[in-house]
Structures are given as structure tokens and as C-alpha cells.
């Protein structure tokens, strides 16, 4: 359940009610809830005394500050050139088959979201993905299906 509760207030206490706290606050909300819902953004706007449209405008600039529903595990598959050359598509197909979702979608049980992302800095170990914060590299379809299986059992 996505409950904003006191989270925004606590984060505002922690980081301070100034504009430069906006990113750390949004980042921590995303760490906890995987994305920013409207209530959370409105709360942040209120705490920092900035407009909600600006909070949304800022969040929507950053790929990792999702404003759409995301699952507990967000799988980001690098689509930039080396990963693309080294079998990104096979990785995506494997994950799509396993989770029964397409790129851009979230599983109905809200466990997984699958998205493509730009270069994540593992070109020498392509193809690579991030699951939440953690990188997984030198993937093959077999390797990635093992990884996803582990997450499914978590």
C-alpha cells in the first residue's frame, strides 16, 4: 500500500525545507514506494512551499523519479548502443515472457515493472540491467531468468 502518511514531513525535517532538498526528498520517497504519487508530490510542494506543478515538472525531468505506478522491483534494461549490440532484445524478450508484461508495463500484482533506460555505465559488461539500484551485467537469457526467478521468490 502506498501510504504517504508522515513520510514527507519526516523527510522534510531531515533534509530541510528548502528547494535544494527537493531531489533528496523525492529520491527517498521513490526508494520507499518506487514512484511518486500525486498525494506525495502535493505534500512535498506544501512542505517546501513550492508549487505542485513545479514538483511534478522537476520530477518528470528525471527518469528515475517516476510519476506513474511502478512495481516493487523496477527492472531497467539498458538500451544504449553496446547493450543493444550485445543482446538487449533477447534479455527483454526473456523478461517479458517470464513476467507476462511488455516494456513500459507493470505486473498486475505490482511486483515488477519493466522499462528501457539509457546507458547505465556497464558497456564493457553488456548487456546490463538495473533492478532497483542493483546492476546485473554480462547477461544471457539464462542468467537473467535465474535472476528474475530469485526476485519472484522474494
Amino acid at each position: 500500500m502506498y501510504q504517504v502518511g508522515n513520510l514527507v514531513k519526516e523527510l522534510s525535517d531531515k533534509h530541510g525545507r528548502v528547494r535544494e532538498s527537493l531531489m533528496p526528498i523525492l529520491q527517498e520517497i521513490v526508494q520507499k514506494h518506487n514512484y511518486l504519487n500525486d498525494e506525495a508530490m502535493v505534500e512535498v510542494a506544501r512542505e517546501l512551499d513550492i508549487s505542485a506543478a513545479e514538483v511534478y515538472g522537476t520530477a518528470s525531468f528525471y527518469t528515475f523519479l517516476d510519476t506513474q505506478v511502478k512495481g516493487k522491483y523496477v527492472i531497467r534494461v539498458c538500451k544504449t548502443i553496446t547493450c543493444s549490440m550485445k543482446g538487449k532484445s533477447d534479455i527483454i524478450h526473456t523478461i517479458e515472457d517470464m513476467l507476462k508484461i511488455r516494456v513500459g508495463e507493470t505486473t498486475t500484482d505490482k511486483q515488477f515493472s519493466l522499462i528501457e533506460t539509457n546507458c547505465i555505465g556497464w558497456c564493457h559488461k553488456a548487456p546490463a540491467i538495473l533492478i532497483n539500484e542493483l546492476p546485473y551485467t554480462e547477461l544471457t537469457p539464462e542468467k537473467v531468468s535465474e535472476i528474475i526467478k530469485d526476485y519472484m521468490q522474494k
Binding site: 500525486d38 508530490m41 502535493v42 510542494a45 506544501r46 513550492i50 508549487s51 505542485a52 506543478a53 513545479e54 514538483v55 511534478y56 515538472g57 522537476t58 518528470s60 525531468f61 510519476t67
Partner: protein, 593 residues
């Protein structure tokens, strides 16, 4: 001074001057789009690029300060080619249905296209691939993303001038757009409908919602009696859309034009502005009495004016805890509307259901105000249609009137009489000045102690103005005010309103009465006024307002004979039961996003 050379001509400018401004000094025109005199530098459209000798890239002249010895060329082949590309790129993202566009021939992109991008377009049309949306949810304006060129003037206006930021830049790259909070409809966000963004949009992406056709339909409906009221600030700006220079008063011609258009009765919002002074002035004195004599601690002071519907919506969203401080008086437009279908209908013996009440306003927020559910005191929608100054100009053009050669005419009666005090409602400080002219006289029996009634401390373009008046020699009924110092403040532009509200919230605002207008300069700078706008244009309009005032025979609201008559015949006295029924309202708390 900084010395530089532009197109082989020497020029000296003050430190901090931009290359663009330096070129202007030499009368060298550099095209711009995102640049606007009222706003901070953006430097994002890149149309104003010029070549600087020795620089690796072209530079944006609007965003680059002149430096000593700089050599600039504004019209090299490199500049022209790049500029043509930039205009072409903008056009490729822009739905160019110019002939159908409300801004046709008043569009800065169109003018640039005329100069730089006529003929076949170089680049692919990107419009169809983009899922642009058009937001028609606001009663005041339309936001059409397919016309947007992302210059961000609207965003800067909403934040820098109005402190609202109902819209902001969202997403990035190809998906970058101007968005409300999470793409919500503009009718459901903090937007005050002030229309300042509309005034500054260089294209047709932000335009007022027009009701011209509905008004024509009413005029041509033989069954309807169409009354029109004109706000004070319209008469000093309408001319700009009809070939006059800013600051020319066209009151008489405008009245004649409205008659020619076919309105059954051409009346004046000034009448209800005078009425507002009676109601609001009395309300203030009553609040002061309660606080000072009765010791009533629940009286909400300072009292805020309530004429500006943009300001009303601002406080409803942002400072709802201070709604009790707002005067309960309706705005002059709505007082007029309520009376048109009651008092006027009765006096003229017209069935109110047959009356169509139209107002000509310098304002887009007035369209929203007229739609408020509270504004049906007459049993009908008090004001049926609100047109902006710009829309009136369109109607005049549509009717083929030779405006310049029209005879001057005078307002019809009843509800067409006004005073100079009402006219100055159109400029920041005007409501305050009008209120003081009347209230001071009620309390002391003497005229305000300012030469020729001109209360200069409340005039001018300073964002926040303060003044105080010592009240001495009170008449008996108001003797409790003897020796009191009435402290007042005035703000225009919501960014300044917010400054005052912060003080009020902190308990650091020692004022009794505060006038706030949502728009820069007050209504003369309203969101429905002719485009373009800048400080000089607004100053010219303001000057015209005050000369209109000086030329009036009557300059104090309480002397308006029609106001005197309506109290005698209909309303009884200011703040009477009847007044409260028709002329006062209440406010609602709204979400802050």
C-alpha cells in the same frame, strides 16, 4: 560604460546591458521570441542568435551581456542560416493552421515565419506524431499545446509575476511540455485565470476563450434585451487594437461603437464601481468600529479588497485561512450583473429572463467569476457573457465600423453614470484612492487632504505601496476614530500580493485596509487587454486613466447621482439587507495544487 561594435557601428552601454539591448540602441532589430521585457532572461528559443567575433558558437543576444571590445554581427550568412533553421524547427513542432487561429496576424511566430521561413518547409512535420492536447476546461482561456513553442514565457509569467506556478515545464527532450500539476485540467488546478500568460504567449497556444458568437446571437435575438457594461480600464486600452497608440482614451467612440453593434443599452461598470465604494467603504468602517469601539476581537482586519477575481482565486487557493479578511463585496462587474436583472429590469419594466447581460472586461478571470455559482443573486446568471477588450475589438472589426471616425457618444441610463473615483479602479491604487475620497469625507465631513483629490502616495507602479492617513476632526458619529491613523497597503501582481500575505500571515502587517489587484499595474495590465504588454504600455494606460478621472465633473463615488438614487429607491443604505442579498458574496477554500 562598455564599448562594443555592432555591425561596424560603435555603441557604449552600461555594464550589464545585453547585446540585444545594445543593438536596440543602434536601432538594429534582432528578432526574438522567448524574450519578454517583463520577464527574466531565458535564452532558450535561440532566435536572437548573433555572431561574436572570435567565438566558437553563435551567442544568444538576449542572454549575453555586452563586454568591452566585443564585435558583433547580427546579419551574417551563418546567422541567417541558423536562424532560418530555428524558425523552421519551431514550425515543424507547431500546428500551423494560421487561417483558423485566433492569433492570426497577431502572432510572433507567424511574423518570424513570414521573414525567415516562407515557401516549402525544409523539415518533417512532427505535429501528427505528437499527441498534443487542447485544454478547454477553464472558462477563461484555452491551452493548446499544439501551438506551443516552449518559449516558457507563460511559465515565467506564472512564477515571476504571479507567484502561482500553476504551470511549469515538465518532462524533457522531445516530450518536454508546459504542464499543470500532473497534466490536470486547468480548471482543476491553482490557476487564477488571470490571463497574464495569455498576454505574453507569442503564439496561439494560450488564448482567451471567446464568447463573441454567443453575444452576436443574443444581439440578433429579437426576444432579448442585451445590456452591456464596460470596465474602467477598457476605455484606455481598446484603441491599441484599433490602430491607436497606447494610452489614448477612446471612451466616447467605444460607447458609440457598442451602440452600433446593436446592444440595447450601453452602460458603465463605473456605476457599480461607485456602488462598490459605498458598500466596501462602509464595510471597512463597520469593521473598524467593531474592533475599536465594541472591542470585538473576532473582526477580521486588515480587510482586503475583493474586486479582482484573479486575486480572489489566489487567496482561496493559497491563503484560505484569510478568507474572512476579504471584503464580502462582489466585484463591480457582479454588482452590476445582479442589479441588471433586478433593479434595472424593474425600472425599465423588462422581464429579467429576457435580459442578456454582457460585460466588456480587461480581464480573463472575470469570465470565471461570472461562472461562479455564487453569482446568481438575481435568480439568473447575473452576467451572461464576459468579453475581453480584445474580443470587443474583434467585434468592432467584424461589424466593419470605422472606429476612428465614429462620433463620441455617452452612456445610456440608468446605470450609466459614473465618477472619476470609479474610473481609477482601473489602475493599481485606484480602489484605495476612491475609497479614501469617500470614507474620509464620511468620517470627517471634509475632503481628503490631498491637492485636487489626487492621493499620489497610492499611485504608481511600485509593487507594494504603503500609506497612512491621520484622521482628525471627525464628525460625531465617527468620533471614535478621532486621532486614529488609518494604515493602508496596495499590491498589484500576485507576486506582490504574496509578499503582503506573507507579512499578514507572520503578523507583521500593521494595516487596516489592503487593496490587491492580480495583474501588474491593476486592470490596465489585465489579462484581457491588447497584446503586447510592457511597462511603458501599462504606464501610458495608467496616465490615461488618471486624466480620465481629472476630466470628470464628479470625482467622488458618493456623489454619483445614480448611486444616490439606487439607495433611495432600491437598496435603502450601504450594507443593508438588500445590499447583502444582491451585492455581497462569500468565498470558498480551494486546493493548493
Amino acid at each position: 560604460m562598455i564599448n562594443l561594435i555592432i555591425n561596424d557601428q560603435k555603441v557604449s552601454v552600461q555594464a550589464g546591458t545585453t547585446v540585444l539591448a545594445a543593438a536596440k540602441k543602434l536601432k538594429i532589430n534582432i528578432p526574438t521570441l522567448c524574450n519578454h521585457d517583463d520577464l527574466c532572461v531565458a535564452g532558450n528559443c535561440r532566435v536572437c542568435i548573433v555572431e561574436q567575433k572570435g567565438a566558437r558558437t553563435l551567442i544568444a543576444s538576449c542572454a549575453t551581456p555586452a563586454t568591452e571590445g566585443m564585435e558583433i554581427h547580427t546579419n551574417t550568412l551563418k546567422v541567417r542560416n541558423a536562424r532560418k533553421h530555428i524558425v523552421e524547427l519551431l514550425l515543424s513542432e507547431h500546428r500551423s493552421d494560421c487561417t483558423k487561429c485566433y492569433k492570426n496576424q497577431n502572432c510572433e511566430l507567424q511574423s518570424l515565419a513570414n521573414e525567415f521561413a516562407f515557401g516549402d518547409h525544409i523539415f518533417l512535420d512532427l505535429v501528427e506524431d505528437k499527441k498534443y492536447s487542447i485544454d478547454r476546461s477553464s472558462p477563461s482561456f484555452i491551452k493548446d499545446d499544439s501551438k506551443c513553442i516552449r518559449c516558457q514565457r507563460c511559465v515565467r509569467t506564472c512564477s515571476e509575476l504571479q507567484y502561482i506556478s500553476a504551470i511549469a515545464v515538465a518532462n524533457k527532450g522531445a516530450h518536454q511540455k508546459i504542464s499543470s500539476f500532473h497534466d490536470r485540467p486547468m480548471s482543476h488546478v491553482v490557476c487564477t485565470n488571470c490571463g497574464q500568460c495569455v498576454n505574453r504567449c507569442p503564439t496561439g497556444a494560450l488564448v482567451e476563450k471567446t464568447y463573441i458568437d454567443q453575444v452576436w446571437d443574443a444581439i440578433y435575438d429579437p426576444d432579448k434585451h442585451v445590456v452591456v457594461q464596460t470596465a474602467p480600464a477598457v476605455r484606455v486600452a481598446l484603441g491599441e487594437d484599433l490602430g491607436y497608440d497606447p494610452g489614448e482614451r477612446v471612451t466616447g467612440k467605444m460607447v458609440n461603437a457598442l451602440k452600433q453593434l446593436g446592444f440595447n443599452s450601453v452602460l458603465d461598470t463605473d456605476f457599480s464601481a461607485d456602488l462598490t465604494i459605498m458598500e466596501e467603504g462602509t464595510e471597512l468602517l463597520v469593521r473598524l468600529k467593531k474592533a475599536l469601539v465594541d472591542g470585538d476581537t473576532k473582526v477580521s482586519l486588515p480587510m482586503f479588497t475583493s474586486c479582482s477575481p484573479g486575486w480572489i482565486k489566489f487567496i482561496e487557493h493559497k491563503y484560505p485561512e484569510f478568507l474572512p479578511n476579504l471584503s464580502t463585496c462582489k466585484s463591480p462587474q457582479q454588482m452590476f450583473g445582479a442589479l441588471a436583472k433586478t433593479y434595472y429590469a424593474k425600472k425599465r419594466n423588462i422581464d429579467p429572463s429576457k435580459i442578456v447581460s454582457v460585460s466588456i472586461m480587461p480581464c480573463t478571470a472575470k469570465k470565471f467569476e461570472a461562472d461562479r455559482p455564487e453569482m446568481r443573486a438575481s435568480g439568473y446568471k447575473d452576467v451572461d457573457y464576459v468579453l475581453t477588450t480584445r474580443e470587443l475589438a474583434v467585434m468592432i472589426k467584424q461589424a466593419g465600423l470605422d472606429f476612428r471616425n465614429l462620433e463620441e457618444a455617452i452612456y445610456d441610463s440608468i446605470m450609466g453614470e459614473s465618477t472619476g473615483a470609479a474610473v481609477i479602479f482601473g489602475a493599481t491604487g485606484g480602489v484605495m484612492e476612491a475609497a479614501l475620497r469617500t470614507a474620509y469625507e464620511i468620517v470627517t465631513g471634509r475632503e481628503v487632504p490631498f491637492g485636487n483629490l489626487n492621493i499620489t502616495p497610492v499611485r504608481g507602479m511600485d509593487g507594494v505601496k504603503e500609506a497612512s492617513i491621520k484622521i482628525e476632526g471627525c464628525v460625531e458619529a465617527w468620533s471614535f476614530l478621532e486621532g486614529a491613523e488609518l494604515k493602508i497597503a496596495i499590491a498589484h501582481g500576485l507576486v506582490n500580493a504574496n509578499k503582503i500575505m506573507k507579512l499578514v500571515k507572520e503578523g507583521n502587517a500593521p494595516y487596516h485596509f489592503i487593496e490587491i489587484m492580480a495583474c501588474p499595474g491593476g486592470c490596465i495590465g489585465g489579462g484581457g487587454q491588447p497584446i503586447p504588454t510592457n511597462m511603458q504600455i501599462r504606464k501610458n494606460r495608467m496616465k490615461a486613466i488618471y486624466s480620465e478621472d481629472e476630466n470628470m465633473v464628479l470625482r467622488k463615488s458618493h456623489l454619483n447621482p445614480e448611486v444616490v438614487a439606487i439607495y433611495k429607491e432600491f437598496l435603502d443604505k450601504p450594507n443593508s439587507h438588500k445590499s447583502h442579498e444582491l451585492l455581497h458574496t462569500h468565498y470558498v477554500e480551494r486546493d493548493n495544487f
